[in-house]
Symmetry: C2
């Protein structure tokens, strides 16, 4: 006999309620409400008027169940707390909403296990599709294959994996790094170092490659290039910077950092050593986090169109949802934009 509503709880209005009051059938109400073509304009008007009056709200759960397609798009992010991701989220939400979809988000917290759990949860919630940026730990992709088996389409953005076959959206990291490095070279710096991220991570690797290529193209000797690898967003960045800066003879006069936050740590370190920016050491980052504007001196960096990345990723997913032709999976590489500030 179903669940009883507690006495204090008004039973929500349903299409049947409207049907009964108007003495027509549920189907007609359903059709009227969703602007089905074959329905008398007059009935449509009456239905809509009553729906409005009764403050009817469709039950999307029931609708999704019947249509086997929900209006929810799942998003899995490593962290909400980083400007890049929250901006991307903004873009995702924007496009999703414009197309009648809602967004349900999860945080993997950079842990692989959470990522797997999240994909399961989203699958259980029968989301229409998933947008995700992988964990730093992710090396096993069986959870993604399961999604494919269940025919839940997904798009990877920013943190993508080469050996997963799906639509992808990233920034042109190679070009971006190439440009920052060229900028440093043009500014006249002679001994340019790179504080890189884990080279197993595709983003870090591409930035590293862009850096090396720029050196080479400008007649620098790649073999002499000082590259220190560090874990992202960690005290580790500080220590790597320290090692780099304590080289006496060979101290770099400029450092290209793999991310703004790594650059901030390097900045702290440079100050701690009593050096000046950019006179003694110039510094460039990557991402254009809002904080780059507030540090002293403001940080030169590559702007990543985070919001645009989110929008594009969401658009790819929606395209995929509409056409059943998944012939080729596109990989969008968006351009970055150099922002020169006082640190170089």
């Amino acid at each position: 006999m179903g669940v009883q509503f507690p006495f204090f709880m008004k039973k929500p209005i349903t299409i049947s309620d409207i049907a009964i009051k108007l003495d027509i059938s549920k189907s007609t109400v359903s059709r009227a409400l969703k602007d089905h073509p074959d329905v008398n304009p007059e009935t449509k008007r009456r239905v809509k008027a009553l729906a409005e009056k009764l403050d009817y709200e469709p039950n999307l759960l029931a609708s999704s169940l019947a249509k086997k397609q929900s209006n929810l798009i799942g998003v899995i992010l490593p962290e909400f707390n980083r400007t890049f991701f929250s901006s991307a989220l903004e873009g995702i939400q924007h496009v999703a909403r414009a197309n009648g979809f809602n967004v349900i988000i999860c945080q993997s917290n950079e842990e692989f296990e959470n990522e797997v759990l999240n994909t399961k949860m989203l699958a259980s919630n029968k989301v229409a599709g998933i947008l995700m940026s992988l964990t730093l730990q992710t090396e096993d992709f069986s959870h993604l294959r399961k999604l494919q088996d269940k025919n839940i389409p997904f798009v990877l953005f920013d943190r993508v994996a080469d050996n997963v076959d799906c639509p992808k959206v990233t920034v042109d990291d190679f070009q971006g790094a190439y440009q920052v490095t060229s900028h440093l070279i043009k500014k006249g710096y002679k001994n340019i170092a790179h504080l890189s991220g884990p080279l197993g991570l595709s983003i870090s690797k591409k930035r590293y490659e862009g850096f090396m290529k720029a050196l080479d193209d400008h007649g620098f000797d790649q073999a002499n290039a000082q590259v220190y690898e560090c874990k992202l967003l960690n005290e580790d960045a500080y220590h790597s910077a320290r090692k780099l800066l304590e080289l006496n003879k060979d101290r770099p006069d400029a450092i290209f950092c793999v991310s703004d936050y790594v650059a901030f740590e390097a900045m702290r370190c440079i100050r701690d050593l009593g050096l000046r920016i950019p006179e003694d050491v110039a510094l460039a980052g990557f991402t254009n986090d809002p904080a780059t504007n507030y540090v002293t001196p403001p940080l030169t960096t590559m702007e990543q169109p985070a919001k645009l990345i989110g929008e594009k990723a969401c658009e790819l997913l929606l395209q995929h949802l509409k056409s059943e032709e998944h012939s080729e999976f596109p990989h969008l590489e968006l351009p970055t934009n150099l922002i020169e500030r006082g640190s170089t």
Copy 2:
């Protein structure tokens, strides 16, 4: 006859599939899967084994429909892009997940209209409840009343409204402001100004009041206190700071800013005027944004336990969901924590 699955789409496993293969009824399968007490341990084992083997995933849509209660909690935030909110979100998600709920988030973008649309969407998705932080524009609360009519419980956090009756979680803004101001006084500053937010906003008002009270309690003349109101997060902050700093005779030797971002703007302004921090003008903010650590000098500020606020808000909602006694609506005011840095 319902929707046909496209040929390429595997039909998802359901409890009926399991029931048929095991030659038992759906009901038993359902019970076994959710550890209902009245079910033979052996059947339970067999059901679970098969479910595992077939990679069965429950359809939460159907479940929610049947139970008239979804496992989704809606969250409406003014912006994702601010550390405070994304941290709060983290807390919310944490508690939600620990209790078997998922989070569906929306962004009002500081626009009232979006806020209203969001509440409707979430209601349509039949969320179990809603957590929200109001827009700066929000003055009309009829959308919240509608939620109450539909018996969708909600909790307000951070940006709350006095004349809405519901559980609330905020920080003790009055005390926080009182403490920062007292800190400035103890440091020996004599002419302390306040760059406040819009006084219509309860947060700004309370911080303003805490500021004034601290002055009064330490024998300062409230009437002489320089308070400049500015819109939050705007160029407006810069201009207000400028006006304040261009007072020749009466230039403050310390400024308590309503937020860290306002303080960053003030900082820019102070530098533009060729003044030193904290020698000429000391500066304190509010929130403890990560960037406070990277500016020069690092900013003294009040730490707001953003994540904790999110957790508490979510806990209040879950409590409310469990007990139908909504006798009293609690208002939690969490303590803040002074973080002294180089700017004072």
